[in-house]
Amino acid sequence: MRTESFSRSGWPWKTYMAVLILGVAVILARLVYLQVIRGDYYARLAERNHMRVIERPAPRGVILDREGRVLADSRTVFMVSVVPAEFDSADVRLLGRLLHMDPAGVEAEVQRASMRSSYIPCAISTGLTVAEVAGLADNIHRLGGVILDAVPQRRYPMGRALCHLLGHVGPSQEGGMGGRIVGRAGLEAVFDTHLQGTPGYRREIVDAYGRVVEEFGDPGDKLAVPGDSLRLAVDASLQQLAVDRLEVSGRPGAMVVLDWRTGDALCLASWPTFPPNRLSSGITEAGWDSLAGSAEKPMLSRAWAASYPPASTFKLVTAAYLLERGLMGPDYLPDPCYGTYRLGGTEFGCWTSHGRLDVVDALAYSCNVFFYQAVQLGSVDGLAEFAGSMGLGRRVTQVLREERVGLVPDAADLDRMYGSDGWGRGNLLNLGVGQGELLVTPLQMAALAGRIAGGGSMPPVRVILSADTAISRPHVPAAGLSDSTMQVLVAGMRRAVTYSDGTLHRAMGDLPWAVYGKTGTAEVPGEPHSWTIGFLREPRPLAFAVVVENAGSGGAAAAEVAAGVLRRYLAADGFPAGGGS
């Protein structure tokens, strides 16, 4: 057999060697490019292949009312977050399309997130629809630095009714849109650490482009621990009734109901309200602005964060002050009321001609002229000191944020305001009928009514039933009204209802329970505010205060709100409206 080399001609092996040399040369060139020229760049990229720790937010604690009704809980929603450093801005359009968001909006969110941190995931959209979740899940591998997560979201089953009391949650102030969810107002804010829980986390490995390579299962993950629950003294159904009734009145206002035997705050209603669920699910800037900037101030709780002149409801304080300090006897009879009272050159008006009245009937008819004369038996400082001992001018609770203390001016205050000779007896007259510089909150006035019901003292007002040990109750000085004073006040308040021409007869005269009350018409620029405060002993120990802003004179608006709420609440509570008192 003849031997024959295939490579005799030489070109095949030369081709082999040429290909070998050329191929290795290309590889070397590429290696030099990647490792020497671009080495630093790739080294930096490689560093970014890292473990990403994603926080699992803890569900916030449940908030319950006194009956165990759920006022706030959590539901699971889908959230999209972006790690700005890993997000390719070229993906903005795809992400926007999947989330049904404007690409520019996505870009703005990412921009905002990157101002906070380039490496911490930042929420850009929450509460995704099923379709959006599905679309995103299908494309998540293309979207570096985009995280799809199921997170708990605060939910308020009662909606608006308790919005001021509970407040709402939102991203923490320092965090911006993607920040940790914290309580931003109301009890959510005050009890934030209590409700917060402990966040867990999960870890995943991501590549240099932010795409998830693998997830750690257990034990790399740590589950979140839900926050502690909170039980409130509030009665959600009563609160709902009050908000609904205030809404019917059509004017901003508030209604506070306390159990004067226990001090429990059963109702802390304010209207208008805001939608807490909308705020917690991430409100737009425009939506926030329209809420916060609204002339009706829906974010403001009028029950404790707004103060009003108490007007005639304050006559209870004036009367109690004069009686308690022995400045006036129960049988005191001043000049009759002919509709006005003159002091120096100034005329002080009454709303009608009452004729001669004693202190009980002066309360029942709310006669100004009686009190103009009677209050001159006392002094500004004495009145202020006594009003303070009745709880006015100071906080009622420690747990309600932005609770106003109001104002009960003494002589020093008036000196400060007008100069030592800039005020005089006329100011005392005004203070005696609850006008002038006086300012009180509905919560303070409900507590005042409760104090009268309780014979001059009442347990401290209680907003929280559980977790209460953490909050020290404010010291409430016991006024300790004497029996004779009590008899006058109670009789006056009762006759306001029972007299056919009493101030509360029209609104409350047909209630089957013994209601004790006092109206007020607060003179303010524009239409006056309408006040009613009062209490019941039976069927339940309730003290209440209602204010309706700019509702006009006569006190009818607030009285109707109070009567309407009490009627429906007690009827629903098993006390038929037809029952006798």
């Binding site: 031997t3 295939f6 095949p12 070397l28 590429r30 290696l31 990647l34 490792q35 790739y42 990229l45």
Partner: protein, 399 residues
């Protein structure tokens, strides 16, 4: 007959370096994977492979020549069996007890032997009209591999066949004709591509002054292939289509191939000149590459040892291939010469395709880097082929 010479020491030295690099890299990769068994198993594969190399070294050229037809038939059978019996992530393994065999790896080795054998047969009969006889044996291997579908390996086998034909003295036009079925299949993607391909085919056929039978065969056969490809395409399952698309255009795969290439480049680039340090790289850039112990093993080495380590590995590989080409050139036996040239092409093409893939120069094909990548079939096959080549180098005067 002369006294036996020692085997090629350059080649053995280069082999030792490449194997050492491979084991070091796998040790590091297995540490990062927290799967020490990968390293242990690879040690076993190297041991088995060295045994296979010894076996190959003990076989004379004539014995290999005579065995090759049986080996071819056996591997064809395995390739048929893997279609219904295949397991593993891509269905390319036949599991026999504790070990899985990857028939497509064996097919590459058998292809070298059978093509060498048929080319010699063809030469012996002093005619080039028998090139079809060669293709008759090569085609089942390629086609069966294609059908797995392992398009990367099938294309690799075409290139290997092409290289061996070139060694046998076939010019560019013949090489074109040899590749024409593959080109026909690819050209079916677009009518203009197909028209261009057919025009080129006609030109070559005219220039080679081939008879009517050949005209009919090449033109008709390739037209049939081009027409059938879309139909076969539609019969494929979506994941199979995806795999083919990815082979042709890696960027079309959003999650897999394109991403791996980027990861690989990050890893290689981050190695710099001196590397991240042994056992330190795999915690970083490449810790996230699923195929880091198989397809992208080069990237691990490049990240940990940098340009210097790459130079060492490339130099060793270069010496290995260079010595194989020299052996092939010196072989007086046509079969040995062709076989060793095939083996040289085997290592060279693997090097280019695998390292080129890691560097982002080549599409992702899933071809291993022989002697380095994890995998028993590849290791044993590669070392067996080197055994054959070493023997051919020693006994080049002995027929």
């Amino acid at each position: 007959m002369r006294k036996r010479e020692r085997p090629d020491l350059f080649l053995l030295l280069a082999l030792a370096v490449v194997l050492a690099v491979g084991l070091l890299t796998l040790y590091s990769a297995s540490r990062a994977l927290e799967s020490g068994s990968i390293f242990t198993r690879q040690l076993i594969w190297v041991g088995l492979g060295l045994g296979a190399m010894g076996a190959g070294y003990s076989l004379s050229g004539r014995m290999v020549d005579e065995m090759s037809t049986f080996a071819w038939a056996a591997v064809c059978l395995l390739l048929v069996l893997v279609i219904p019996l295949g397991s593993g992530p891509a269905g390319r393994w036949i599991v026999l007890g504790p070990v899985g065999i990857q028939p497509s790896e064996l097919a590459k080795a058998v292809l070298i032997l059978i093509v060498a054998k048929r080319l010699v047969e063809m030469r012996r009969r002093r005619t080039r009209s028998r090139e079809l006889g060669v293709l008759l044996f090569a085609l089942p291997l390629v086609a069966l591999t294609w059908m797995q579908p392992d398009l990367g390996t099938a294309a690799f086998m075409c290139l290997l066949t092409l290289a061996m034909f070139m060694w046998a003295g076939f010019g560019p036009e013949w090489l074109f004709l040899l590749l024409s079925p593959l080109l026909a299949a690819l050209s079916s993607m677009h009518v203009l591509l197909w028209a261009g391909f057919t025009l080129l085919l006609v030109v070559v056929l005219v220039r080679r002054k081939l008879g009517f039978g050949r005209w009919l065969l090449f033109l008709g056969g390739n037209t049939a292939i081009a027409a059938a490809t879309p139909m076969i395409w539609n019969l494929l399952k979506p994941y199979q289509q995806q795999r083919l698309i990815t082979f042709i255009n890696p960027a079309a795969d959003p999650q897999g191939a394109g991403w791996n290439i980027i990861q690989s480049q990050v890893a290689i680039g981050s190695g710099g000149v001196t590397g991240q340090g042994f056992l330190h790289g795999a915690q970083k850039g490449l810790a996230f590459l699923p195929a880091r112990h198989t397809d992208f093993v080069f990237s691990v080495w490049a990240e940990e040892t940098g340009l210097l380590g790459c130079l060492l590995l490339l130099a060793a590989y270069w010496v290995l291939i260079w010595r194989l080409v020299v052996t092939a050139r010196r072989s007086v036996s046509p079969f040995s010469s062709l076989m060793v040239a095939g083996i040289a092409a085997f290592f060279m093409l693997h090097l280019f395709v695998n390292v080129g893939m890691a560097l982002g120069l080549m599409p992702v094909t899933g071809l291993p880097l022989p002697l380095v990548s994890y995998g028993g079939s590849s290791m044993v096959t590669s070392l067996f082929l080197l055994g054959l080549a070493l023997r051919a180098g020693v006994s080049w005067r002995v027929i």
